[in-house]
């Protein structure tokens, strides 16, 4: 059936996209950048989760390199959202093609 073939093709496309987003996310830094003002000066810290703990690592004063890091962290956050959207679409299509019980 033509529609089923189209859906399966879309499912395959989403699987490729999922792999690619995971790879991209894996290469981007985790966490968030926090700014702390100490004695009138701003210092940056990278906060991220290690297991159950939240770790705060000192980065230094604001700089161009840290702006770049901030951009990469933001990109990771956006790509994580894209990955969630891909996975949601995969579930929808799997249900259309295979039915609810067989959706993997």
């Amino acid at each position: 059936m033509a529609i089923e073939a189209v859906l399966k093709e879309e499912l395959e496309r989403l699987r490729e996209a999922e792999k690619s987003y995971r790879k991209e996310i894996g290469a981007l830094p985790k966490g968030s950048i926090q700014r702390k003002r100490i004695k009138g000066k701003v210092y940056l810290y990278l906060a991220f989760r290690e297991g159950k703990k939240v770790v705060s690592r000192y980065l230094g004063p604001p700089s161009q390199d840290l702006e770049k890091l901030s951009g990469e962290i933001e990109r990771r956050r956006k790509q994580q959202q894209m990955l969630r959207d891909v996975q949601r679409n995969m579930i929808r299509i799997q249900r259309m093609v295979y039915g609810r019980r067989s959706a993997v």
Binding site: V6, L7, E9, E10, R13, L14, E16, A17, K19, S20, Y21, E24, K78, Q79, Q81, M82, D85, V86, R88, N89, R92, I93
Partner: protein
Amino acid sequence: MDDEAQFEVFTRILRRFEREGVLQHVMLIGSWCLRIYRSALTGARSLPAMRTLDADFLIPNQRLIKRDVDVPALLQEMGFTQTLYSTSSWVVYDHPELRGRVPHPGVG
């Protein structure tokens, strides 16, 4: 494959092309034209909603485009990820809702 979500991403690409000053130099061809007609024209709901997964653009005259536009970078800014790098003619970018294919650098 939500039609509205897909169409929203597609129109965002068109608006970005417009901001970059290249929309007037590209021509949308193929079954995606029907989707635009359904949206833009009253009385066009009878047009079929089925279309191919790829939206195709033709550039009738490349020489009229006076500025370089980094289409891969533009797609990546919009959340696309590079999924396939074909050694033949195309580089493929995917988004949760759409796929984009860009000619391999040097091919066109």
